[in-house]
């Protein structure tokens, strides 16, 4: 009898009529005043040069490009454009530092430098977070609470490994590779620099890093931290520029390893270019992750996981949960709850501490998102966009989801890399597995269920490098990250991530 009482009071599922009649109002009866971070306690310099061999050098190209804020469209600084000659200087500096200093240094001494860098990132985290949000458009609460703590954590974690590498590979001796060329994307500029630089240094390699052209500033501020930490000249070199600069780095004959995070298209080009060379390669590319919601999931928390999965960093996340697979029996209440939740998302000034959704990183990316959303509408999917006001300047896209999406539709297959979710349904766990794996990508996935056994059953069958259970977009330097299939190969983080930067004896 007692069971029955609580059962009958359960309000799910609601009918369409309930939804229409019982609307929640997320209005303006108590508004949050603007709460922007102050920007007067530091200065962005008008111009940044290349950081090569421990010195700031004007580019051989003589050229500079502007980096702008995607939320205001205002220029923030001029950035040196490195050409092949600059890349050559940087590789030479890195080779020199590798041969003479870094590979010869006692590992415990290397660790001290890396610890010092980690602490300096923590000390300057406020300034770094603000610059990250200005240059890239991401909300300050994310750069402050996710990007910066994780960037510092990656240096701390890898500092710990530097003198313990003999214990990382079951008794096999690890030797550094030499000079690593690293090309990083614009979605987590400082964090991706940390992911790449920290393990390379811990393993005894030196680095030439090329930041993305739309978000070079925090990597350059990181170079200033290297100077302050008195990292030996040439151990890390930063060469800014666009695709040609990156190509020069990839094709440089004296680079021993290329690590790339970015689009699958560019990743394929890099792999072709490296075919038949001695260079080692790791690629972390695109994704079209399935976030799978079973009917027995903790629904209100799953809604948070969906929002976190696709709207975190405006969906500019390679492991974003961009394909929502929902058990058909809860499709309606889930969509209802998701719409209400999206009504509370605050889009606007990335520097406002209450902003949930910042600016789209660039005009080009905005156009790409808009084109894919158009294709979704043409395919007949039903679109819902959060009812938020769009600022007059800058690049913005309201959080959006599509229902009635066919598995064959472009918005279900292509990576949108924006705040756009495709909602599909499934009927059985087997069907969920089949649909989740039916993609050329294999980076990540999420599973939401109250049954632990079901989560493990499913995780074993998903072809994805990272599988989250009852959570999404959680990162830790000790946990390896990387993909299957066209999401790339190699892992970053953890013991597994170290192996991308070492040669093993025996």
């Amino acid at each position: 009898m007692s069971q029955e009482i609580t059962k009958v009071t359960a309000p799910l599922p609601f009918t369409r009529k309930d939804v229409a009649e019982h609307a929640l109002d997320f209005g303006k009866s108590w508004e949050y005043a603007p709460s922007p971070e102050a920007t007067d306690h530091f200065k962005i310099e008008p111009r940044y040069e290349l950081f090569i061999g421990g010195k700031w050098r004007t580019p051989k190209s003589g050229k500079y490009f502007a980096t702008t804020s995607p939320s205001t469209e205002e220029k923030l600084a001029d950035i040196a454009e490195g050409n092949a000659e600059d890349v050559d200087l940087a590789v030479k500096a890195a080779r020199h530092a590798y041969e003479r200093v870094w590979s010869k240094m006692r590992p415990a001494e290397r660790a001290k430098y890396i610890f010092r860098i980690a602490r300096a990132i923590q000390e300057k985290s406020r300034e770094l977070a603000i610059v990250e949000s200005m240059d890239g458009g991401k909300p300050i609460k994310e750069s402050r609470d996710v990007d910066l703590p994780l960037a510092a954590a990656h240096f701390f974690y890898h500092a710990g490994w530097a003198d313990k590498l003999d214990y990382a590979f079951h008794g096999r001796r690890a030797r550094p590779l030499g000079v690593a060329g690293q090309i990083i994307p614009w979605n987590f500029p400082l964090l991706m620099a940390a992911w790449k630089i920290a393990p390379a240094l811990a393993c005894g390699n030196t680095v030439v890093l090329k930041p993305a052209e739309t978000t070079p500033l925090t990597a350059l501020l990181l170079a200033k931290i290297f100077e302050e930490a008195e990292l030996p000249p040439g151990v890390v070199n930063i060469v800014t520029g666009a695709g040609e600069t990156g190509a020069a780095l990839v094709n440089h004959p004296d680079v021993d390893k290329i690590a790339f995070t970015g689009s699958t298209e560019v990743g394929k080009r890099i792999q072709r270019a490296l075919a038949g060379t001695k260079k080692r390669l790791t690629l972390e590319l695109g994704g079209k992750a399935a976030n799978v919601i079973f009917a027995d999931a903790p629904l209100d928390q799953a809604i948070e996981g969906i929002v976190q999965g696709i709207f975190f960093n405006q969906g500019h996340v390679c492991c974003a949960g961009s394909r929502l697979l929902v058990e058909e029996s809860i499709h309606e209440p889930l969509v209802r709850k998701l719409r209400d939740r999206m009504a509370t998302l605050r889009l606007g000034d990335p520097l406002d501490k209450n902003t949930d959704i910042g600016a789209i990183n660039s005009k080009m990316q905005l156009e790409k998102i808009a084109a894919l959303v158009d294709s979704g509408e043409k395919d007949g999917a039903e679109r819902f966009s959060a009812p938020c006001a769009i600022p007059s300047k800058g690049y913005w896209f309201a959080p959006t989801f599509f229902t009635g999406v066919a598995q064959s539709s472009r918005i279900a297959r292509e990576e949108i890399f924006g705040p756009v979710l495709s909602v599909l349904t499934f009927r059985t766990p087997d069907e969920a597995v089949e649909k989740a794996n039916n993609t050329m990508y294999g980076l990540s996935a999420g599973i939401w269920s109250d049954k632990g056994a079901k989560i493990f059953w499913m995780a074993q069958r998903l072809k994805a490098g990272v599988v989250w259970g009852n959570t999404y977009n959680k990162f830790d330097p000790g946990s390896p990250f990387g993909g299957y299939k066209e999401s790339g190969f190699g892992r970053e983080g953890g013991r597994q991530g170290l192996s991308a930067y070492v040669e093993l004896d025996g």
Partner: protein, 312 residues
């Protein structure tokens, strides 16, 4: 308050094959969500507006063995005029006392909009026979209580006798007559969010106008995640029926910052309709002076000494 329910006393139903059990609650994720809403930055006018709203939602509470008519009269005065130098602040929503002090409070508050809430049903343990609990309720209402804060039978809840919990709430609702009923779950004794969710649904289905976290006599009392779980139960009930149930976190809310956190939880879970004393209350004794201090700080630019605020 919402319109009183004229429904006949609900009965525990016996046919429920087609309904799902209440949704489960993920502890990690709900605590994360509740904490993230504590990071909203509230400045200047939005801070002051929130704090004034919090005062209007306050059930100023004294529930002690040493309560006297003098103490209760002082508290009533504070509820009507929280800050002597600014009559635009307040009044509070209600005074919350034991049944023996209801008549004193009623007389002291005569002519003011401040309600009198009385705890009843063998508060705080609820470990007495139902007939005594119901007598307790009827007496408090006769004395003039506008609102009854009852406790559920946690022993029954924990031993799985949900029907007993339901029936007692329904009987108490009947005994309340015109008085509004707040159902205290004593979440600190329930142990899991899943059980909090289940108790919330029973409290709502059995006729509660409000659901309330705690007696204030058990630690932990109100917490943001427990409140969020209860707000989610209220939201699902609203989605299904259109009926708005009120929420009262009580105990452990001591600072203005905490109060604003709770208001953010309500605003972003249930929306504007719940930002009213009719549907949201704070049960607190120490909270008011901290809120007043913050309001005065925003007005004058300086913190004032604790002695500048009356201690009642």
């Amino acid at each position: 308050m919402t319109a009183p329910h004229t429904l006949a006393r609900p009965r525990a139903p016996h046919h429920s094959l087609f309904h799902s059990p209440p949704p489960s609650v993920d502890q990690v994720a709900v605590e994360e969500r509740a904490a993230s809403l504590g990071k909203r930055s509230l400045k200047k006018q939005s801070k002051v507006a929130g704090l004034k709203l919090a005062i209007a939602m306050m059930d100023l509470t004294t529930l002690e063995g040493k309560d006297t008519p003098g103490k209760v009269r002082a508290l009533c005065h504070k509820a009507m005029l929280p800050l002597d130098r600014d009559p635009t602040i307040g009044p509070c929503a209600a005074i919350c006392v034991y049944p023996n002090l209801v008549t004193v409070a009623k007389a002291a508050l005569a002519g003011s909009p401040v309600k009198v809430a009385s705890v009843a049903t063998a508060f705080p343990s609820g470990q007495s026979p139902l007939s005594i609990k119901l007598d307790d309720v009827r007496r408090a209402v006769e004395f003039g209580a506008d609102e009854i804060d009852m406790v559920i039978d946690r022993g029954a809840m924990l031993s799985g006798d949900y029907a007993k919990v339901f029936d007692e709430i329904a009987a108490t609702k009947e005994a309340c007559g015109p008085a509004h009923l707040k159902v205290i779950l004593e979440t600190g004794e329930l142990g899991t969010y899943d059980l909090v969710r289940k108790a919330s649904e029973i409290g709502i289905a059995a006729g509660g106008d409000f659901i309330k976290t705690s007696t204030g006599k058990v630690t932990p009392a109100a917490t943001p995640p427990v409140t969020l779980v209860m707000l989610e139960a209220i939201r699902d009930h609203f989605y299904a029926t259109g009926r708005r149930i009120g929420m009262k976190p009580a105990g452990g809310v001591r600072t203005a910052k905490q109060a604003l956190h709770y208001l953010v939880l309500v605003k972003e879970t249930l929306g504007d309709a719940w930002l009213t004393p009719d549907l949201f209350r704070f049960g607190a004794s120490a909270l008011l002076n901290d809120v007043l201090m913050q309001i005065e700080k925003e007005r004058t630019g300086n913190y004032q000494a604790a002695e500048d605020f009356s201690k009642d």
